[in-house]
């Protein structure tokens, strides 16, 4: 805390102007004193001796002349053991502790430490006295839930340091000194198990960034098989309201094949956070068998919480993600929704009376979005191991129209696009990802040629479907009609998934490969079908068999029985492989 103080000279919404003496830095944190409370704020513009600050709280009651205290520090997250399982607001205040202090409501001016200062952790030193260390290299470990939490030389220390002393194995709090290092000039720096890092700066303590090639399974068939996501990659889910963005992220957060999931509920509904809070402690992590909450961090700044801290919340989230990545873990950050974050930028920009860009969004919107997604990545760490941060952001375009600034700026920088469509969600198709418009630059979990073959059927079916709307069913040839039925069946049994059913919702890679093989053999075959009525009846029955099959545990007796029934039906209509339609096998793997 510096001695630097200022006085309020104007108030406009959550933008307050402060006259100050001395030096103030950009993005410095300061506190406005009002009614005995100190309201956390951030400097966002400095002009002469006037700083404009955005207040992270409601500004009611502030008057000219109120005192402002500058801290000299930027908005930071506290990093150390004890982050997992926490529920934070956008400024890393643990919400359960705020509830203990303030009750039902989020009273302003009440803050709490991000990490429990009392709790003792079992520290095991791993670095030897005399070792030369750099920022981001571990000095010891602490067990945290199912993980080995590494204690690092703080990321902000530049240059080489020598370990002078380190405590023996034992229990320590996050604030106690566990080691002392000296810099090149011999100055001693005590280290504890936690340190602060300014959230708006990316952590870059890695050896190199690698291309994202390893799949991140989401267990959603439509994504993994057709529009996959890679570890260290980025993807976005734009869609109109009600199309199921949040449900999709929710299922992903449960089943995704990663070590840690960070959920940034940014400017969305409080109810959705409550759902996660209620459900996750009860659910088991399919990988470790422990509570799902132990691998999850929730950063929630819901829509009715102050706008400025909504802006901070995405940065806080990605900082925590980067921190765990440094331990060689794979982290998935789900931001819902990045549009709300962009709107927070817009609100502040409006109050600052900046010249507005498209739809009044600030001109720097694109570079901010790009910088955020660029914090994802698959990296090789100083010790040679690898870790990743994958970012999946939802976008809530105004009017469901993707031609708006936030969606367009996001599409430029992400590796996969899962566009949700109103038509599919209205028809209760889940997930409502539109296969006709979505794309991904990553590799599918199934053979790329098979994926392309299925997508092709969907496209053909769609073309025939739109033609049928014009020329009618009777004007369509039986062959075309069968392709149309096949596309419909593929959609119903493979693209759609029941997110409420524990078996169907969690469809792993092996199962996806197995089922697509069966599905393709059905889709690429010819049958003895007399007319359209007959064909519709047959594919309806086939669809039913596949749907029932989806609910059977993989490789269980029921699963084998389901497959036999499919085979029986296949033979009943004289199914035979069609050499023409099998031409996909000759193609190049995508």
């Amino acid at each position: 805390m510096t001695e630097n103080k200022g006085k309020v000279i104007s108030v406009n919404g959550n933008l307050v102007s402060v006259a100050f003496d001395g030096n103030v830095s950009m993005n410095e944190i300061c506190y406005v004193k009002v009614d005995g409370a100190a309201l956390k704020s951030e400097v966002i513009r400095i002009r002469g001796s006037v700083a404009q600050i955005q207040v992270y709280e409601m500004t009611d009651g502030i008057q000219c002349g109120d005192e402002v205290e500058f801290t000299g520090e930027m908005l930071s997250a506290e990093l150390g053991p004890g982050l997992l399982g926490q529920i934070y607001d956008g400024l890393q205040n643990p919400l359960p502790i705020l509830a203990e202090q303030a009750g039902w409501f989020l009273e302003r001016g009440i803050y709490a430490d991000g990490l429990d200062a009392e709790k003792k952790w079992e520290f095991t030193p791993t670095a030897a006295v005399g070792a030369v260390l750099r920022a981001g290299e571990p000095i010891g470990t602490v067990p945290e839930g199912p993980f080995t939490h590494k204690i690092f030389v703080p990321f902000y220390l530049l240059g080489n340091y020598t370990l002078k002393s380190i405590v023996p194995k034992g229990e320590y709090t996050v604030r106690e000194t566990v080691a002392v290092i000296t810099d090149e000039r011999g100055r001693e720096i005590p280290l504890s198990m936690s340190f602060k890092w300014p959230v708006k700066r990316a952590v870059k303590c890695y050896r190199e960034r690698l291309a994202p090639v390893e799949n991140m399974e989401t267990k959603v068939r439509l994504i993994d098989s057709f529009f996959p996501v890679a570890k260290g990659g980025t993807y976005c889910i734009p869609g109109p309201f009600g199309a199921g963005k949040t449900v999709l992220q929710h299922t992903t957060s449960k089943y995704a094949d990663v070590d840690i999931v960070i959920i940034a509920a940014c400017g969305e509904r409080a109810g959705e956070v409550v759902e996660t809070l209620t459900e996750f402690p009860e659910l088991k992590d399919p990988r470790t068998g422990r509570s799902l909450m132990e691998r999850t961090i929730i950063i929630c700044n819901t829509s009715s919480m102050p706008v400025a801290s909504r802006e901070a919340s995405v940065y806080t989230s990605v900082t925590l993600a980067e921190y765990y990545r440094q331990m060689g873990l794979h982290v998935l950050l789900l931001a819902d929704s990045t549009s709300r974050w962009a709107q927070a930028l817009r609100e502040m920009s409006g109050r600052l009376e900046e010249i507005p860009g498209e739809e009044a969004f600030p001109a720097y919107l694109e570079s901010y979005i790009a910088a955020f997604y660029e914090r994802a990545g698959y990296v090789r760490l100083p010790d040679g191991s690898t870790g990743s941060v994958t970012i999946g952001g939802t976008v809530s375009p105004a009017g469901g129209n993707f031609e708006e600034p936030v969606t367009q700026a996001t599409l430029k920088v992400v590796g996969a696009f899962h566009g949700l469509s109103r038509e599919r969600s209205d028809a209760r198709k889940y997930p409502a990802i539109d296969p006709l418009i979505s794309w991904s630059k990553y590799r599918c979990v199934i053979d790329g040629r098979k994926s392309a073959y299925c997508k092709n059927i969907i496209h053909q079916g769609n073309e025939i479907g739109s033609m049928m709307k014009v020329i009618g069913e009777e004007g369509t040839s039986l062959d075309d009609y069968i392709i149309y039925l096949k596309a419909e069946m593929l959609d119903a049994v493979y693209l759609q998934q029941n997110s409420f059913d524990p078996v169907d919702a969690n469809c792993g890679t092996l199962r996806q490969r197995y089922v697509t093989d069966k599905l393709i053999s059905v889709l690429s075959s010819r049958y003895t079908l007399h007319d359209k009525e007959d064909a519709r009846g047959f594919f309806n029955r086939m669809r039913q068999k596949f749907i029932d099959w989806n609910y059977e545990e993989f490789e269980s007796d029921g699963f084998r029985k389901g497959e036999e029934e499919i085979d029986a039906l296949y033979r009943e209509r004289d199914g035979r492989e069609d050499p023409v339609q099998n031409s996909w096998k000759d193609g190049e793997e995508a």
Binding site: T278, V307, R346, G472
Partner: protein
């Protein structure tokens, strides 16, 4: 000591500015004009220049009028005495009852800590099948009713007010036509619900600034009742008028507009109201149903669009009935797994088939010949609309489910419905 000023620097629309010291952001003031007294609220401070929005509007305000700062923020009285009463946007009685001044509560308070909320998991029955069966209303949910002008949305609200299982109803009217106000009063008193209702009414002829106060007043009262273990149902009509009032003030104050003239913080403003819907752990709840009229039946208009992103679903009122497409209660899955095991599957299948019916109907209207499957769909669609969709159907949920199976059985074979086989085996009505 209240500060009094006799010099108004500028008057633009409903916003005046005064040179004053020691004034707090959001503080109330009283302005005395030749037409009487009105409240005003500070909405910007720049040095010693203070901007206030005048509740009664800027008309007739003179530069020499007296402005007296009250040293407090906007508040509303809360007690059981509110029940059965009607107020305006400044909290003054609209009926002939006494002014209430006891137990004044601040309005527009902070949001509820998410960790103190509980998962919405109780159904709020309305006995309207399109709600209970297809888009169940859940206690603590916030839902808009999207509608175009001319639809019977106020009638629907009144009917829900009378039939819904709520302890207290708080009704907020914004820009309400006077006859609609009378209709609500009449319908609720005839339906016997008036004694559990509090109304805050701003009619179309009242000043704009008061319109902006209505949701905060309503929700502050609802929140207080909820903290006394009551299940409160908040009915708001119409939120588009509220948004337009905000737009008016924002433009007057020369804010940069974002979309069709609405201020950039429209989403946050609407969200801070809707998010007052809550189910408190160990206490009562607030459920919000709010009419949002869509100018030109355009759901992409900024008000319905932003609303849709905030609320937990929406009801579309179209042609006098709740449209099954587009209408969505996002919380229904929290309750419909406990109602009856067939609820969810039946609901999905019936909507899917109804969607196919709509496609077939389109084809038929274009003159294509109908296949046997098409004929089945046509029959189904008609039955569905007649027996379940009409708003006049008054059926408890279980009755509606049984009726659903009957309609399916009348039109289709089991395997044509796309429902899991074990459910069709259990529920298919035998003839």
């Amino acid at each position: 000591m209240n500060k009094v000023y006799n010099r108004i620097e500028s008057i633009t629309g409903n916003v005046i500015t005064v040179k004053a010291d020691g004034v707090r952001y959001k503080e109330l003031a009283q302005i005395s004009t030749r037409f009487g007294k009105s409240l005003a609220q500070v909405n910007k401070i720049e040095g010693d220049l203070v901007s206030l929005q005048v509740f009664a509007g800027g008309q007739g305000v003179s530069t020499g009028d007296e402005v007296r700062f009250l040293g407090r923020e906007m508040r509303v009285s809360f007690s059981e005495d509110l029940l059965g009463r009607i107020f305006d946007g400044s909290g003054a009685p609209r009926d002939n009852g006494p002014v209430l001044t006891e137990n004044m509560q601040p309005i527009g308070g902070p949001s509820v800590n998410p960790t103190r909320r509980i998962l919405a998991n109780r159904i709020m029955r309305t006995n309207i099948p399109m709600i209970d069966m297809f888009n169940t209303l859940v206690v603590s949910q916030k839902l808009p009713i999207f509608s175009i002008s001319g639809e019977p949305y106020n009638q629907l609200l009144a009917r829900i007010a009378m039939q819904a299982e709520a302890d207290v109803i708080v009704l907020g009217g914004m820009g309400l036509k006077y006859d609609d106000f009378l209709y609500f009063k009449d319908a609720l008193s005839k339906g016997g619900a008036l004694s559990k209702t509090v109304m805050f009414i701003h009619t179309a002829s009242d000043p704009t600034v008061e319109c902006m106060m209505i949701p905060d007043m309503v929700l502050a009262v609802a929140e207080q009742f909820a903290l006394q273990d009551k299940d409160v149902l908040v009915l708001l009509t119409d939120m588009t008028n509220f948004a337009d009032a905000m737009k008016e003030i924002a433009i007057t104050q020369e804010q940069v507009p974002s979309n069709r003239g609405y201020p950039g913080d429209l989403y946050s403003q609407l969200a801070s109201r809707y998010e007052k819907a809550v189910d408190f752990a160990d206490s009562g709840s607030v459920t919000v149903l709010a009419v949002t009229t869509m100018p030109g039946d355009d759901v992409t208009h900024p008000v319905p669009d932003n609303t849709g992103y905030i609320t937990e679903g929406q009801y579309y009122l179209k042609g006098g009935r709740i449209e099954p497409f587009g209408s969505l209660s996002r919380l229904k899955q929290n309750v419909n797994k406990k109602t009856r095991e067939d609820h969810r599957a039946l609901m999905d299948a019936m909507i899917r088939l109804y969607a196919s019916y709509k496609e077939t109907l389109e084809k038929k209207n274009m003159g294509f010949s109908m296949s046997r499957w098409d004929e089945k769909l046509l029959k189904y669609g008609e039955l569905f609309e007649k027996k379940l969709m009409s708003l006049s159907v008054n059926l408890p949920l279980e009755g509606a489910l049984d009726l659903g199976w009957e309609i399916l059985a009348e039109c289709f074979r089991k395997d044509e419905t796309g429902i899991k086989s074990d459910l069709t085996d259990a529920f298919w009505p035998e003839k």
